[in-house]
């Protein structure tokens, strides 16, 4: 929780600015769409944070999003599979990808950066080759399955704002991962492995198995996220769908208090990290800044945010020290 305070602060600041200066920012429909986007990216970021906790990194998230997002309509439309066949298949493929990463990293001891970078190239290439570079979409059909990501639930008494269905998996996953890390033996082991792999091994932790598991979970979530993304967007091009999403996911996790050296995570922080990025982008449009400036603004705001967070933290630590000595 303490680790998440920084990003919650940054989020709040941006939210206030957006409310004051953004046209129609505080309307139900805008908040609804923001919730949707934040949920989708959260799912990827949660996966990323599991890998980051082990001290690893997964650069293939965006490509797995692409592969699963492309496969879903491709299997449904071109191959005419039923949704009941497609969903498990896509998830299984994603999990298998993660398993390969995990085994290459733990058994062959290859660097995670390298393995998942190859993955980044490979799965996108696979998606492009599979579809012959044609964009894939539902062509207006499959409303049924797509409602997994498109349904909205009304809240009695509140108009305009309805809860998007993607919130449910995002929250369920966040709670599950949060509990997993703090309340289960395996979660504790994962944290220990990330902090000091060798000490974890001496303490009887099956480190290789846990690291593998975290890569499986990350790819599985990326695959699941990719499916939700495509249900939401309706169509995608293999050559650009999911580009840079790994950076967004990792950025959300790191902003949320995960250290890339491993052993630290904050699920609440990750959710806020993902939401911050989305609110920021939305704000830029609603405030009417040029989309040319979008990147520059996001970069600056994040940098100023984390720098301010660090300075505040330091200042308060120094005060504590000066007060000193309770012993």
């Amino acid at each position: 929780m303490k680790k998440a305070l920084g990003i919650i602060g940054i989020f709040t600041a941006i939210f206030i600015v957006a409310s004051v200066f953004g046209e129609n920012f505080l309307t139900g429909i805008n908040l609804m769409q923001l919730t949707q986007r934040a949920s989708l990216y959260s799912i990827l970021a949660l996966g990323a944070s599991l890998v980051i906790v082990t001290g690893g990194i997964d650069l293939s998230i965006g490509s797995v999003v692409c592969l699963s997002g492309i496969m879903t309509p491709w299997l449904l439309v071109e191959k005419e599979w039923t949704p009941m066949q497609v969903i498990p298949t896509v998830l299984a493929v994603s999990a298998f990808i993660g398993l390969c990463h995990g085994l290459l990293i733990t058994k062959l001891r290859l660097q995670p950066f390298l393995v998942t970078l190859c993955g980044l190239l490979l799965y996108r290439g696979l998606a492009r080759w599979l579809t012959g570079d044609q964009s894939q979409g539902f062509q207006g059909e499959f409303e049924g399955v797509r409602s997994i990501a498109l349904a909205k639930f009304a809240i009695p008494g509140i108009e305009n704002y309805r809860i998007p269905s993607t919130v449910i998996p995002a929250i369920v996953l966040a709670v599950a991962i949060g509990l997993f890390l703090s309340r289960t033996v395996w979660g504790r082991w994962l944290l220990a492995t990330g902090r000091n792999e060798s000490a974890a091994r001496y303490s009887g932790v099956p480190t290789a198995r846990l690291v593998t598991l975290s890569y499986v979970a990350c790819s599985l979530l990326a695959g699941f996220g990719g499916m939700l993304f495509i249900f939401d967007i309706g169509s995608a091009q293999p050559s650009d769908f999911g580009n840079f999403y790994e950076l967004y996911a990792i950025a959300a996790a790191v902003l949320g208090g995960c250290s890339l050296r491993g052993g630290e995570a904050s699920v609440i922080g990750v959710l806020f990290g993902a939401a911050t990025l989305q609110v920021l982008r939305n704000t830029i449009t609603l405030v009417g800044l040029s989309s040319q400036l979008e990147f520059a603004v996001i970069g600056t705001v994040l940098l100023v945010g984390v720098a301010a967070d660090e300075l505040i933290r330091r200042f308060s630590a120094r005060r504590l020290e000066r007060l000193g000595a309770r012993t």
């Binding site: 060798s198 303490s203 009887g204 099956p206 000193g324 000595a325």
Partner: protein, 509 residues
């Protein structure tokens, strides 16, 4: 206290506060040339903090440091960083090892002070001079060896060689002998005496009071960050110092009666280690028995313990077998831990601790797996366990939420041992169990280990301190160059007998 020796460094009213603790308060010390100054105290008394302040690693919160200039006049200085200290002629050997593992030994010794010509490294000179300093500390290795491949004792010697090579006016050593065996420790004491003879000021910390008795000209005693006494040679004895350290007299612990009659719990057959393929090791440990492994640095004790725990896989296809209660132990370390094997590693920072994590996490890690139902952590149980283990291990400060990194060295060691004592393992393997632990706490740890053995566990420990081996072990196995050189029952063992075997002599002593 008048003395004819010149004061090199004067400490006045120095204190250091951290968030939550006062590590050091109002310390006055004079460091004199041609004198060996020992600093003693319990774990967490503030010894390392004081030494770090003297060498510029840590800045004092208050107080004043004065350093003698060329003419011998004392000048107030601010030592902001190691560079300043080096300029003032001060060198420090840290308590925790600090070598960059990607550098070779020569590179490590000269790190920060590399000889260079026109900006280019003079590698030949570095190697040549490094060899000289290595010989000085009695380490016979090639200066081109990578530090990462050295066992901990050799690293310690490299660090000492590094400090010696500074040829400083003031040499500061924080528990330099803690991971050395008797022979290397002796050699180090000789070097210290020699430096003293040449007018160098030597400051050192040790928990071995016999070392202190042998060499120190003056002893400064710290307790809870305060100076409780400063005694000159001849004005102190062991009991006085202990009383000043602990605030009471320490009870002497006697060796307990051996219980070698019960069934065999642990059986090691023809174990070949990963690095030495030639000499298989075999021995048995009975339930309730405490076996001590003795030997010189590099004798192979660590390798044996790690092979039993499954950390390093025994070399070759026929790497030998380890049986626990009659069934073979197979697989990786986690499968062995499941069956009740526990190992306290030699290098706590690298293999034992999660430095950035709180004490509670470090102490409950092994317990989690044993206690949890359905893999869920019982939060309340965990808290009470950690509380009781902190009390049992006398961890100070007793704050479960404190990061282990900020504990003193001895307290870190207690945290690692506590992790395993919490789960009552069937086999407890301890590698240098009391490295850096103070006298009082050492007795406590020994008592805990005995208690565990009395409950029927098999205990094997390796220690470089003959005193500890003699005191704790029921049976002593002496190793020499990877093989078992002989076995001694506790009652027939003596330091001489052990050293005889350890240096390659035969059993006929």
């Amino acid at each position: 206290m008048p003395s004819e020796q010149p004061v090199f460094l004067r400490v006045r009213g120095v204190g250091r506060r951290y968030a939550g603790v006062t590590a050091l308060a109002d310390i006055d010390v004079d460091v004199r040339g041609g004198e060996v100054l020992a600093i003693v105290g319990e774990n967490g008394a503030g010894k390392s903090t004081l030494l770090k302040i003297l060498s510029g690693v840590v800045q004092p919160s208050d107080g004043d440091l004065q350093v003698a200039d060329a003419s011998g006049a004392l000048q107030s200085v601010v030592l902001d960083g190691v560079r300043d200290a080096t300029k003032a002629g001060i060198a420090l050997v840290h308590q925790e090892l600090n070598l960059a593992e990607n550098l070779d030994v020569a590179g490590s010794i000269y790190l920060g002070r590399e000889p260079s010509r026109l900006g280019l490294l003079d590698l030949a000179a570095m190697r040549r001079d490094a060899r000289k300093w290595l010989a000085r500390v009695g380490l016979d290795i090639d200066p081109g060896t990578l530090c990462g491949t050295l066992p901990i004792a050799q690293r310690q010697l490299v660090e000492i060689a590094k400090a010696l090579s500074c040829e400083a006016r003031i040499l500061i050593l924080d528990e330099p002998t803690s991971s050395l065996s008797a022979r290397e420790a002796d050699r180090l004491l000789e070097i210290m005496a020699e430096l003293r003879g040449r007018g160098v000021a030597v400051v050192f910390v040790s928990h071995h009071l016999d070392e202190v008795m042998r060499i120190a000209d003056r002893v400064v005693v710290l307790r809870d960050g305060h100076k409780t006494g400063e005694l000159a040679r001849g004005a102190y004895d062991r009991a006085t110092v202990e009383r000043l350290m602990v605030g009471r007299d320490l009870a002497r612990v006697e060796r307990r009666a051996s219980r070698a009659d019960s069934r065999v719990r642990l059986k090691v057959e023809g174990l070949l280690s990963a690095h030495r393929k030639k000499s298989p090791v075999s021995f048995e440990v009975r339930a309730g028995e405490i076996v001590g492994l003795a030997g010189l640095v590099g004798a192979g004790r660590t390798e044996v313990l790690e092979a039993i725990a499954g950390i390093t896989h025994a070399g070759g296809r026929d790497g030998g077998r380890v049986m626990l209660d009659g069934t073979e132990l197979v697989g990786a370390s986690f499968e062995r831990v499941r069956r009740g094997v526990a190992i306290v590693p030699e290098d706590r920072a690298r293999n034992g601790l999660f430095l950035e994590d709180p004490v509670s996490m470090n102490m409950s890690l092994a317990w989690l797996d044993r206690s949890s139902r359905a893999r869920l952590v019982d939060g309340r149980g965990e808290r009470s366990l950690v509380g009781s283990m902190i009390a049992r291990m006398q961890l100070r400060p007793a704050q479960p939420a404190r990061r282990v990194q900020t504990l003193s060295g001895g307290n870190q060691q207690k945290a690692v041992i506590g992790r395993w004592l919490a789960v009552d393992p069937a086999v407890l393997l301890l590698d240098e169990p009391t490295r850096g632990v103070d006298v009082g706490a050492r007795a406590e740890i020994h008592a805990e280990v005995r208690r565990l053995a009395d409950a029927g566990s098999a205990v094997v420990f390796a220690s470089s301190e003959l005193e500890e081996v003699l005191l704790l072990a029921d049976r002593i196995i002496v190793m020499h160059e990877g093989a078992i050189a002989g076995e001694l029952a506790a009652h027939e063992a003596s330091e001489v007998a052990i050293m005889h075997l350890a240096t390659g002599g035969t059993h006929a002593s």
